[in-house]
Amino acid sequence: MITLYILGAASTVLTLLGFFVPARVTRWLATGSVAASIVYLFFTWGQRQTAFGGLYVVDPISQGFTLVALLGVLWALLVGRSEKWEFSLLLLYAATGMHFMASSPNLPVLLIALEVFSLPLYVLATWRRDEPGFEAGLKYFLLGALSAAIFLYGIALHFGATGSFNAGVQGSGPLYAAALLLILGALAFKVSLVPFHWWTPDVYQGSPTTVSLMMATAVKAAGFAALVRVLNVQDQGLWGLGLGALIALTVIFGNLGALAQRESKRLLAYSSIAHAGYVGLGLYSGTGTAAIGFYLLAYLLSTGLAFAVLAAISQGDVPYERLRGLLYRKPLLGVAMGVGLLSLAGLPPFAGFWGKLLVFLEAAKAQQWGLLVLALLTSAVAAYYYLRLFNLVVARGEATEAAIPAPGAGTPVLAGQSAGGLSLATGRLAAWPLVIASALVVLLGILPGLGYRLFSPTPFAALSRPASTAPATLPATFAITSPSDGAELRAGEFSLQGTGRAGETLEVWDSGSRIAEVRVDERGGWSLVLPSLPGVGEHTYQVRRPGEGEGPSVRVRIVE
């Protein structure tokens, strides 16, 4: 709740205050309020909250995805300094919308949240006030409006099919399938899955680099938060096929498109398309929220590094050749770019590797072998174009272009670009986000658990436990002790509890699909807070040993 208050109040106050104080102050206040929201998030991490009759829910999905989105906004605020105060303000409005998007299970509210964060972005896209800028803004706006209409249509059908405005309610029939497919299509536009991606390269290229940075990171986080809630239904049916087709097209065309680029921002645009496809893999298993969250965090840090470096070079186009030998001319920018690119390519020991690994594991759990193999093949293509850029960055000599402003070196040099009043971050400030992000990419690469646990239902568990030696034979003594069989429960949060043999891992299934794995503690008990709000109706929860077909189960009824 407080997160929403901070962001909402700050945007409202700054809208008025901005007229009277210098732009610098507005920026500091905006940055401060986003930072305060992040700090508050951390202090209340893992606590759940509901408000407005269930229209606003703070749960692991909300917290995890808000964190990623706010970090993206924070970064844009730090990297892109504008002489105009509206720039910071618009970012703040977008942050508010994104937080709400991540925190509502209600479809109409999701649509409103979507519009709240999209409108500022349409304006920001035109910020450079030049030809490509206007093109970007107009394209983004028109297609955005179209996708909102599609979303609305989907909501209407969803209500018709299930009688509910809540995301994740199980339904059936062609109407229901059409509803989910429409919503999927609308959200696919926001996270740019092929074939809803056509706007992406032009908009990223035409927008100021810092805005592109935010579109690539924060917007995706908000979009996937909604997707996770909407697609959290047990029976995949038609939308499973639809999603599969989108993912397949995305990883193929995103990567092939990137291969053909000669300009860095367009490359990152295509790379962001391809990455959206990989994230989508995590949607299948039903337990992939944490994997998706971690992927987005890793992607935010890595692509953020790349965008921030480009922003330091120019807010406009950056042809590949301008990156040649960057490492020797500007060591800090070079190292940051190198770390970002290797992480994007998915090489260990960088965070991007674990993101890929985790979503691939989710796909493997869901037995999506075809998509998995396709994703692996296209990863090789991706590695090639990232490494090509990486090679340029570390290539010695032959520098053709010297006018790159140094972080921490005073006046910005805009290489022939009018940035429409948007100056470059060139103070000391620009250096430390790069250093921190690079360090985080490496840290999360070495200790992925630090990030992964943030998105799990039970964060901040002990970092590492001494490995218990797996017992050779397991007696069949494991059961669900709570809730009892036939219980009637109110919709909302509840937990499953049970017993088992200390140290072993059990799978929890809900009506025939696996929803989670639990580890039995030293005292032979386990408990699982359900990772998402279960839909209304009858549920059969079953606990199994991995690889075994059956196990004890309970039937419960969830009522409104």
């Binding site: 090489l347 260990p348 493997a364 759990k365 090679n391 001494p466 490995a467 794995e517 580890r519």
Partner: protein, 473 residues
């Protein structure tokens, strides 16, 4: 013992990072760090009691991935070889200081490959080692370095991704509760899944063995690397394919291996002969050594794929021994190239007169490579071929011609450089080179005259593998 394991593994990494940031720390730091690592490896080796050194900590709970290390007999022998070669390499190679840092980073990765007991951890080390290797080539290589780097990266990544798919399949289709070796080996995959899993591993590990036709990255990799031979020596250590087959691919999908065994034996034998043939035609020392290495790994692979205890022990011994002598040869060639300013075979002749000690040292290592009894190349080659003979005498006989060929191409090149009519005067060994020579000769002779010291560490594990495969012979 735990602590030593981690120190040995990460000390080079830390020293490497320090060198990259503050190159003024100089070669002393590199030598000290790799020296301590070598001492640790030797200490662990000397104290080995038949029980492996192990450590486990849960790294990523939801997917049951561990930071698990297990250093058994095979791991110890390979640690020793890697640590010795790295120490010698950073001691002798004349390179920019930062390059020594990259070499140390690579050492950590290599030690990790041999110690990892969790499949994902193994993959992480296997892949991460690529980065310093690639950077050494890309930053300090010759004129065509970028092309060579692309080729290298392409082969490695194209190999690793099928392996990643196999990694998922082996866990989720085999039903193992974690990625630990012991869990995975207890739940091997079977049926057609086993074929595909093995094939996935096969591609990745064949690139790094290297086996024909996936060896194609190797010649340009060596030819374009820094002339000092540092990157080449480290690259030689990175040829971990045989070990990876032994530790992961075969035990996790024995049925798959059985399907491919016949084909693999033929490919291994062909690899040995084909590379030997190309080595004849090589015009410069690095290409000659590169092809020679492929040829010898072909012989090793023949032993490993024979699946019996002798063959497997021989293959792993050969792997460790060739790391030292091939790595050493690359370094010596680097020193010679520094004196003569060329790596080509032919233009410079007869330098033995002015540099007799250098000539003897080179001769010594060449003899080890050829497999002269009493030096470290012989026991491994002999056992590998013996193992292969048991299941396929004809194939072994054909592959054996590669051993003879090795004598011919290596000695021809040696003769051209050292023995023919003198046209160049070069300086003889410096004190630093003398120290290098004494150390490497001691290692090569020790492994040659008393191979039992190492084979007794390897043999129990080879027997276990052979037993798993149904006795082999």
């Amino acid at each position: 013992m735990d602590a030593l394991l981690h120190v040995g593994l990460f000390l080079p990494l830390l020293a490497g990072i320090a060198l990259l940031i503050w190159p003024s720390l100089g070669r002393r730091l590199a030598v000290a760090a790799s020296g301590v690592t070598f001492l640790i490896a030797a200490w662990l080796f000397a104290r080995a009691s038949g029980e492996a050194y192990t450590f486990q900590a849960l790294l990523l709970e939801p997917i049951q991935m561990y930071y698990a290390l297990r250093l058994d007999g095979v791991g110890l022998v390979l640690w020793l070889a890697v640590a010795l070669t790295t120490l010698l390499a950073v001691f002798i190679a004349k390179v920019p200081t930062r390059m020594l840092g990259w070499a140390l980073l690579m050492e950590s990765g290599l030690l990790g490959i041999f110690a990892a007991d969790d499949l994902i951890l193994f993959y992480v080390f296997f892949e991460a080692t690529l980065i310093p290797s690639l950077l050494m080539l890309g930053l300090y290589g010759g004129r065509e370095r970028l092309k060579a780097a692309y080729t290298f990266a392409l082969f490695t990544l194209a190999g690793s991704l099928p392996m990643l798919a196999a990694l998922f399949a082996v866990r989720y289709l085999g039903g193992a509760p974690s990625f630990l070796y012991s869990d995975l080996a207890a739940h091997p995959v079977s049926g057609s899944v086993a074929d595909w899993v093995f094939l996935g591993f096969l591609v990745a590990f064949a690139v790094k063995t290297p086996l024909f036709p996936l060896h194609a990255w190797l010649p340009s990799f060596h030819a374009e690397n820094h002339p000092s031979g540092l990157a080449d020596a480290m690259g030689t250590l990175y040829k971990v394919g045989l070990f990876a087959f032994f530790k992961w691919a075969i035990p996790l999908a024995p049925e798959g291996f059985a399907q491919f065994q016949g084909l693999l034996l033929v490919v291994a034998a062909f690899s040995a002969i084909y590379a030997a043939w190309l080595a004849f035609a090589a015009k410069d020392w690095k290409r000659l050594l590169a092809y020679g290495g492929v040829s010898h790994m072909g012989l090793g692979a023949l032993g490993l794929f024979s699946g019996n205890a002798e063959g497997v022990t021989g293959a792993l011994f050969l792997l460790a021994a060739s790391m030292v002598y091939t790595g050493g040869l690359f370094l010596v060639v680097g020193r010679i190239a520094e004196r003569t300013e060329t790596l080509e075979i032919g233009p410079v002749r007869g330098i033995a007169k002015s540099a007799p000690a250098l000539s003897v040292l080179t001769m010594f290592l060449v003899m080890a490579m050829i497999g002269l009894p009493g030096l470290s190349g012989f026991p491994g080659e002999f056992m590998a071929l013996l193992g292969a003979w048991k299941i396929s005498p004809w194939l072994t006989f054909i592959a054996f011609t590669a051993v003879i060929a090795a004598a011919a191409y290596a000695l021809t090149a040696y003769q051209a450089l050292f023995q023919e009519e003198q046209n160049r005067v070069v300086s003889d060994l410096t004190p630093r080179e003398w120290a290098f020579a004494v150390a490497i000769v001691a290692g090569v002779v020790l492994a040659g005259v008393y191979p039992k010291m190492f084979t007794q560490m390897i043999h129990p594990l080879s027997e276990a593998l052979a037993k798993l495969l149904g006795g082999g012979a």
